[in-house]
Symmetry: C2
Subunit: 369 residues, 2 copies
């Protein structure tokens, strides 16, 4: 994605497109790539959804977009599009990066090499202190510390890095402090660091929002550090996403007798880097930070002009016939259908816009129940 500053009008069109029904981050990118501008994509939406099997599709209204931007302005928040220079550079490279984020505070802070520190909400006293000390040491070494403002480890991480730079990625709207008892910390981060969210302001976080928040935490950082996590903990999702994005995964070990170490020990067994000190993290992350390319990732070449309606019709039928509720690799679908990749991708986009299909990380899709 080419990095360019948008006009306010263009940014509003981006927001309309991103907030339109069934337009997820991946569909957004494909639409933008196929139609060149958000306006052209908005114009094409009803027809695409219609082809996917949905009648009467209506894009997100201009007035609603204007109202959201107005509310954000009153909150002191900025809307930053994925193509804009202030957008977190590493996040832009994630395939399912939000098309837009709302940010309160210092949006320049994540231009430093960033790491995520996440972990158990019911952290031990030692774990909490460890997270805070680690965040302070990493901050002192020049890193920005990203976390999710949750209870426990997240709270420790933000506190430790308040003086040097920390970003809280909110699970709900950027103005909704969750958990409520972290309001004091929320305010201090707004002053000294940054708060971001891809959701509209006013939205209270629900269960399904947390994994989506976690992907932003993993996606905007060079690596994710897990400090204390039981098995099947949300932090392990963040770690898995970091791995899928090709980022570093770090875990703090613990005694087998400590249930809060089950998840981190398991991560280490699965290949995460065992860390005990900030230096262990810095050794890996700063080397990586120097090696990381600053330009965006390659986009797959899907040109509108190459796709004929009869091709996508055949592709839609083939995809619908084969696709079930189990997430399937898009590459595998292309292979199995023996149709051109652009036709399949176009068909998937249409089905997605029509609400028939769901995207999953790692370039996978499933039929909606």
């Amino acid at each position: 994605m080419a990095v360019t500053q948008l006009s306010d009008a263009e940014r509003r069109l981006w927001l309309r497109l991103y907030r339109s029904e069934n337009v997820g981050p991946i569909a957004f990118r494909q639409l933008l790539q196929r139609y060149g501008t958000a306006q052209a994509a908005l114009d094409a939406l009803p027809d695409l959804a219609n082809r996917g099997g949905k009648r009467g599709f209506r894009a997100f209204a201009e007035a609603d977009a204007a109202r959201e931007i107005d509310i954000l302005g009153k909150l002191g928040a900025r809307l930053i599009a994925a193509c804009e220079p202030d957008y977190p550079g590493l996040l832009r490279e994630a395939e399912d990066a939000p098309a837009l984020i709302a940010a309160i505070g210092h949006a320049h802070i994540w231009s430093k090499p960033s790491v995520a520190i996440v972990g158990a909400r019911n952290a031990s006293f030692n774990g909490l202190r460890f997270a805070e000390d680690l965040a302070r040491d990493l901050g002192d070494a020049g890193l920005c510390v990203v976390s999710g403002l949750a209870r426990g480890i997240d709270t420790g991480a933000h506190k430790g890095a308040l003086a040097t730079g920390t970003v809280a990625v909110m699970a709900g709207g950027v103005d909704v402090c969750y958990p409520p008892e972290n309001k004091g910390l929320y305010d201090r981060i707004a002053q000294a660091g940054a708060l971001i969210s891809e959701l509209p302001p006013g939205i209270s976080p629900q269960a399904r929002h947390f994994p989506r928040r976690n992907r932003i935490v993993a996606g905007m950082t060079l690596g994710t550090i897990v400090v204390e996590a039981a098995l099947r903990s949300g932090s392990l999702i963040t770690a898995r996403l970091a791995g899928e994005y090709g980022r570093e995964v770090f875990a703090v070990p613990g005694s087998p007798l400590d249930p809060r170490a089950k998840g981190t020990n398991d991560l280490i067994r699965s290949g995460a880097t065992l860390i005990e000190t900030a230096k262990d993290v810095l050794d890996v992350v700063l080397r990586r930070s120097l090696a990381e390319p600053s330009n965006g990732r390659e986009e797959s070449p899907v040109k509108n002009s190459n796709i004929m309606e009869k091709d996508t019709e055949a592709a839609r039928a083939a995809v619908l016939e084969r696709l079930g509720p189990v997430p399937t690799d898009v590459d595998e679908i292309v292979r199995e259908c023996q149709l051109s990749a652009p036709a399949i991708l176009a068909a998937l986009l249409e089905l997605e816009l029509a609400g028939q299909l769901e995207r999953y990380p790692g370039n996978k899709v499933a039929k909606r129940a």
Copy 2:
């Protein structure tokens, strides 16, 4: 090394050769291979040492060997040579395996798949209990547990496996219980398990004996498990040797705030397998136990008849000129000297017997100070 039962007379000759001055385990193997029998090697010793630069070399006296065997008999101990069927099979494959071990107790016990459990002498209460439980679980699963009868983790490991089978490798003579407070455990292992040593009876352990004992612990087992170890702990030597022998290395993780976990966390970072339960060990060890070949390792073909005295003379000079006090790979010496490998190996053997050269694990040698 071909597996064969020795006569009492042959075993006494093995003991004489092994107890002769400057004859370490590697020299012993080379001598036996070159001269075919212990008697022939004993006959050749003075001349070889003389060529290496030492006058008046005397082999270990027959009467002294007879006396040692007599004492062992009175202690209820057996002497087992590396070529004999009762010798631990995996230990036989280690390049620096003792030519003979003295054993008290049930010498068949190590024919089960064996693992070592070692660790900190100043173990925590949790570490101690963990070692005991782990040993019990591994014993119940059919494994023999090997350790060093030291305070702390070793003690816990032996206790846990008393009912199922445990071997204590002594740092001094097989009859010398160290530390003294483990006399009760020593007696119970003598009854229910086995005690072994490569040193003559009556020898009190000294600092230099511990790493040599540790190589036996690592050498006779499929893998070494380290439960709690500070940095620069003796258990880490056992783990390193296990790695050098190509065996598994397991380590129990711990909190970065626990100094007793520094060594084990460090091992994990260096590639050791993180374990939390007996199952984690069994998954690896039993698979390996099935894959492990039962026959001995290949010996390098060094034939006496091929080596001319003038070749070894040139080789001795070349080796002495180049070798310093830093351990150097024998293969590198062969490459650098540009002389035949058999001549170099013969020269190294002569220099070793003459006390001019010291062997190190991993096929390395250094000049003696």
